[in-house]
C-alpha cells in the first residue's frame, strides 16, 4: 500500500479552506470536535477519576437508601421518630456496600472457598475488561473512538472458537493458535473501520457501531449452521477442547485463568508502544493534532489503519479470554456488556494503559461484588449499572465535577 495514495482522502479531510468542497469534506468538523473531546478526556486528572467514582458511589448509596423497604416504612413515621429513618438508611447502605466490598475482596462468612475469596472473581471479571479497555484506550490516543469493541470481541471469540473446538492440535500449540486466531479475528474487524476511516473518511463511530450489529448477526448465523454443537438444538457451539483452554491459575476452586497474565502483558506492551516506540510517538502526535502530524511528515492514514488493527486485536484477545477462560463455549452473547464497559473503563483510566488496568479491576470488583450485593443484601444489581453510568457522566462532563469541587482548570496547572 503506498502511503501517499492512502494519505489522500485524509489530507482532503484535514481542512483545506481554499478549495470549495465539491463533495463535502468527510469530517472536517467532526474530526476537530472529536480530537478536541479526546484531548479533553485525556487531560482529565486522576483526581477527577477518583472523585467521579466517589460521587457515583454516594449517589448510588442514596438510591439504595431510598429504595430500601425498611427506609420507606420508617419514613412513614418520620416526624414521630426521625432517627429511625436515618438508621434504616444507614443499615441499607452499609449492608449493600458491605456485601459489594466483601463479594469483591474477601468474605469470611461465605460457605465455599470460591465465595470467600471474591478477589479472584474480581480479577476474572477484570481480565477481558483490561484487554478491551486497552483496545479503546489505544484508539483514543490516536483520536479515534472505537465503539466497536463488542464486534471485535465477538469476531475474536469466533475465530478462536473455530480453532478451539473444530481443530485438534497438541497441547500448548493449540492454546497459542487459539490466542493468535482471536487476535487476528478482532484485528480484521477493527481494521475494516480503520481502513474505511483512512480511505474514505467514514466516521469510525458509525462504522464500528454498524459492525457490532453485523458481528452479532454473523455469529448467530454461524452458530445456527456451521458452528452449532451437533448434539444441541440451541444456537451454541460445542465445548472448546481442553488443550485450547487457558489453564486455571489457582486450581479448580477459582475461575481465575492465565488470561490474566496475557492481559497484564498486553498492558506492558501497550504502555511500551505508546510511550517508548516511534510508532507510539506518531500515534500520540496524530491524536494531538492530525494536521500538524501530517505536516511533520507522518502518515496519518497509516496510523489510523494500524491502530485499528492493534485495537481490534486487543479486543479480540478479550474475546479469547472469555471463550477460552471462563465460558468454554461460544454463544451469540459472548461479548455481554464487555464491549460497552470497555469504553467506560478507558474513560476512567484516562486513556493510560495502567490507568485502564486499574479501572478494569475496579469494574471487575463492581461485577463480582454486584452479584454478591444483589444476592446477599437484596439490592438490585442495576445499582451497579447506575454507578457505572454516573462515572461516565462525571468523567465525560468534567466541568460539572470541577464546579462541584471548585477545581479550577487543572489542565493548565500541568498534567
Amino acid at each position: 500500500m503506498s502511503g501517499t495514495e492512502l494519505n489522500k482522502p485524509a489530507e482532503e479531510s484535514g481542512a483545506t479552506p481554499a478549495t470549495p468542497a465539491s463533495k463535502p469534506a468527510p469530517e472536517a468538523g467532526k474530526e476537530s470536535n472529536g480530537t478536541q473531546l479526546v484531548r479533553e478526556i485525556m487531560s482529565g486528572n486522576a483526581v477527577i477519576s477518583v472523585l467521579a467514582v466517589v460521587v457515583a458511589l454516594v449517589i448510588g448509596g442514596i438510591l439504595i437508601a431510598f429504595t430500601d423497604s425498611r427506609t420507606t416504612s420508617a419514613m412513614g413515621y418520620f416526624f414521630g421518630d426521625p432517627s429511625a429513618t436515618f438508621k434504616a438508611m444507614w443499615a441499607a447502605v452499609s449492608e449493600a456496600y458491605g456485601a459489594l466490598l466483601r463479594g469483591a475482596t474477601y468474605d469470611p462468612g461465605a460457605r465455599t472457598w470460591q465465595g470467600r475469596l471474591g478477589i479472584f472473581e474480581t480479577l476474572t471479571f477484570a481480565t477481558p475488561l483490561i484487554l478491551s479497555g486497552l483496545a479503546v484506550t489505544l484508539a483514543f490516543r490516536v483520536g479515534l473512538f472505537n465503539i466497536g469493541a463488542k464486534g471485535q470481541i465477538i469476531l475474536g471469540a469466533t475465530f478462536a472458537g473455530v480453532v478451539g473446538f473444530l481443530i485438534e492440535l497438541p497441547p500448548g500449540i493449540h492454546l497459542v493458535a487459539v490466542v493468535l486466531a482471536g487476535a487476528i479475528g478482532g484485528a480484521l474487524w477493527g481494521g475494516i473501520a480503520g481502513f474505511l476511516k483512512a480511505k474514505t473518511g467514514a466516521h469510525e463511530v458509525i462504522v464500528t457501531i454498524m459492525l457490532n450489529y453485523i458481528a452479532v448477526s454473523l455469529v448467530l448465523y454461524l452458530l445456527k449452521n456451521q458452528l452449532r454443537d451437533p448434539n444441541s438444538t440451541n444456537p451454541i457451539s460445542p465445548r472448546m477442547h481442553e488443550s485450547a483452554m487457558f489453564p486455571l491459575l489457582l486450581g479448580p476452586n477459582y475461575r481465575l485463568h492465565w488470561g490474566l497474565v496475557v492481559a497484564v502483558l498486553a498492558v506492558v506492551a501497550v504502555a511500551w508502544l505508546l510511550n517508548r516506540s516511534t510508532l507510539g510517538f506518531e500515534y500520540r502526535a496524530i491524536g494531538e493534532n492530525p494536521r500538524a502530524a501530517r505536516t511533520a511528515g507522518m502518515l496519518v492514514s497509516r496510523g489510523y489503519i494500524t491502530v485499528m488493527l492493534f485495537s481490534g486485536a486487543l479486543a479480540g484477545l478479550a474475546g479469547v479470554t472469555q471463550l477460552a477462560g471462563t465460558e468454554k463455549l461460544l454463544d451469540s452473547d459472548i461479548a455481554g456488556s464487555i464491549g460497552f464497559d470497555a469504553i467506560t473503563v478507558a474513560l476512567l483510566g484516562r486513556s493510560r494503559p495502567w490507568g485502564t488496568f486499574f479501572a478494569a479491576i475496579l469494574f471487575g470488583a463492581f461485577k463480582a461484588g454486584g452479584t454478591s450485593m444483589a444476592i446477599n443484601a437484596d439490592v438490585s444489581i442495576d445499582i451497579v449499572a447506575v454507578v457505572q453510568s454516573l462515572i461516565v457522566l462525571f468523567i465525560a462532563a468534567p466541568p460539572l465535577i470541577r464546579s462541584i469541587f471548585r477545581i479550577k482548570e487543572l489542565r493548565h496547572e500541568g498534567v
Binding site: Y77, E121, D331
Partner: protein
C-alpha cells in the same frame, strides 16, 4: 444498545421510586412510630426459618411475564406460605450464570432454582461442585444427577386444545403462530397448536390452515430473539395480512409485540384474536384482554412451590417432574371476556378432548415432548 436502553428504563424507575418515596415521606410522615420491639412476626416453623430457597433467572429477568416470572412468583409464594428465606439473582448475560450460581452456593442455598435450558451447563457444574445442595432446573431435562430435579412440561397437550379452539373460532379459516427461537421448549407449543388444528379439521371436515409452523419439517416463523418486542409486531402483522385471525406468539416478551399488532389490526376493522402462552395472559398481560381468546398455561408457580416444600420436608426426589393436563401442570386458560365467541359445542368438545388426552385415546405427538 438494547441493554443500555433497558438499564436506562430501570434507572428511570429507580429515580421515580426515590421521588415517590420522598413524596410519600412528606405526605405520610406524620404516622405513629411503632413500639420498638425487636421481634417481628413469628416464623412458621424453625426448620423453615433456616431454609434458603434461591432462584437464578436467565437473561429474561423476573419481569418477563413468562417462565422466569411464574417461577419467581412460585418461590415468593413459598416464602410467604412456608416462612422460608429467599435469595434471588437476575442474570444479564450468559456469563453471569456461573458467578450467580457460585454466589448462591456460597450463601448456602438449600435449593437453587435455575430457569431455562440456557442454565443447564452452569447448573450441572454447580451441582457437581456442591453435592450437598439441591437444584431444580425449569424447562430442561438434560441433567442426570442425584441433587438436580428437572422440571419439564408436556405443553403440547394444552396447546392442542388451544389449536382446536383457535380453529373453531377462526372466521378466515387461517390461524397463525410464531416462535422466538427454533428450540424445543418453543416448538412444542407450535406442534401442539398445529396438531389441534389438524384434529379439528379431521373431526369437523373443515380445512383451517396453520401459518407460521410446519410440523413435518419443523420449520416456521421465528423472530430469532426473545428480546426485541417489535419483531413480534412485525411477524404478527405479516401473519394477519396473510389472513390469520388467531395468533399464538411463543416468544416470551414478544407476545406484547403480537398483542400490539392485534389491537392495531382490530382498530383497522379486522377481528383478530390472541392466544397467550406460559401464563394466563388475562392476568399477566391485561392490556390485551379485549382480544385474548385463551392461554396455554404452564403452572410453574405451583410446581416450584411444591418442589420447595417437598425439599423442606426432606422429600427431595431427583426424578423429573413432567407437567401434563392430568396433573394440572399444563392447562388451557378460561376464555374470560371472549367467552361468547366460543360456542357451547366447542366447549363440550374441548372437555372431551381433555379427557381423551388424559386417558390416552387422543395422542398428542411432538418431537419436543419430554421423554
Amino acid at each position: 444498545m438494547k441493554n443500555l436502553l433497558l438499564n436506562k428504563v430501570k434507572r428511570g424507575a429507580l429515580v421515580g421510586t426515590v421521588t415517590v418515596s420522598a413524596m410519600a415521606m412528606l405526605l405520610t410522615g406524620c404516622g405513629e412510630a411503632p413500639p420498638s420491639s425487636g421481634s417481628g412476626d413469628g416464623t412458621k416453623n424453625a426448620a423453615a426459618a433456616d431454609y434458603l430457597g434461591c432462584i437464578v433467572s436467565d437473561s429474561g429477568g423476573f419481569d418477563d411475564q413468562s417462565f422466569n416470572q411464574s417461577s419467581y412468583e412460585g418461590l415468593k409464594k413459598a416464602e410467604a406460605d412456608l416462612g422460608i428465606k429467599v435469595k434471588e439473582a437476575q442474570s444479564g448475560a450468559t456469563s453471569d450464570f456461573a458467578p450467580n450460581l457460585s454466589q448462591m452456593a456460597s450463601a448456602g442455598c438449600n435449593m437453587t432454582l435455575t430457569i431455562g435450558f440456557l442454565l443447564a451447563e452452569a447448573t450441572a457444574t454447580a451441582a457437581k461442585e456442591n453435592p450437598d445442595l439441591h437444584y431444580a432446573i425449569i424447562d430442561d431435562n438434560s441433567i442426570k444427577a442425584d441433587n438436580v430435579k428437572p422440571v419439564v412440561y408436556d405443553t403440547a397437550q394444552a396447546a392442542f386444545m388451544a389449536g382446536y379452539t383457535a380453529a373453531a373460532t377462526s372466521k378466515t379459516g387461517k390461524v397463525g403462530t410464531f416462535g422466538g427461537i427454533n428450540i424445543p421448549t418453543v416448538t412444542i407449543f407450535m406442534d401442539g397448536f398445529a396438531e389441534g388444528v389438524k384434529y379439528f379439521n379431521e373431526k369437523q371436515g373443515k380445512d383451517v390452515k396453520v401459518l407460521g409452523w410446519d410440523v413435518a419439517t419443523q420449520q416456521g416463523s421465528f423472530a430469532n430473539t426473545f428480546e426485541i418486542v417489535q419483531e413480534g409486531t412485525k411477524i404478527s402483522n405479516n401473519l394477519i395480512s396473510e389472513g390469520a385471525d388467531v395468533i399464538m406468539p411463543v416468544a416470551g416478551p414478544l407476545g406484547k409485540g403480537a398483542g400490539d399488532a392485534v389491537l392495531a389490526a382490530n382498530k383497522g376493522g379486522k377481528d383478530v384474536k390472541l392466544v397467550w402462552v406460559d401464563s394466563d395472559g388475562y392476568l399477566t398481560a391485561p392490556a390485551y384482554k379485549s382480544v385474548l381468546l385463551t392461554s396455554v398455561i404452564k403452572t410453574m408457580g405451583e410446581a416450584v412451590e411444591t418442589i420447595v416444600s417437598d425439599d423442606l420436608n426432606g422429600k427431595f426426589d431427583p426424578a423429573p417432574y413432567v407437567g401434563t393436563l392430568e396433573n394440572g401442570g399444563v392447562a388451557l386458560a378460561p376464555f374470560h371476556d371472549l367467552d361468547a365467541s366460543v360456542s357451547a359445542d366447542t366447549k363440550t368438545q374441548l372437555e372431551e378432548i381433555k379427557k381423551g388426552i388424559i386417558d390416552g385415546s387422543i395422542k398428542v405427538e411432538s418431537k419436543s415432548s419430554p421423554k
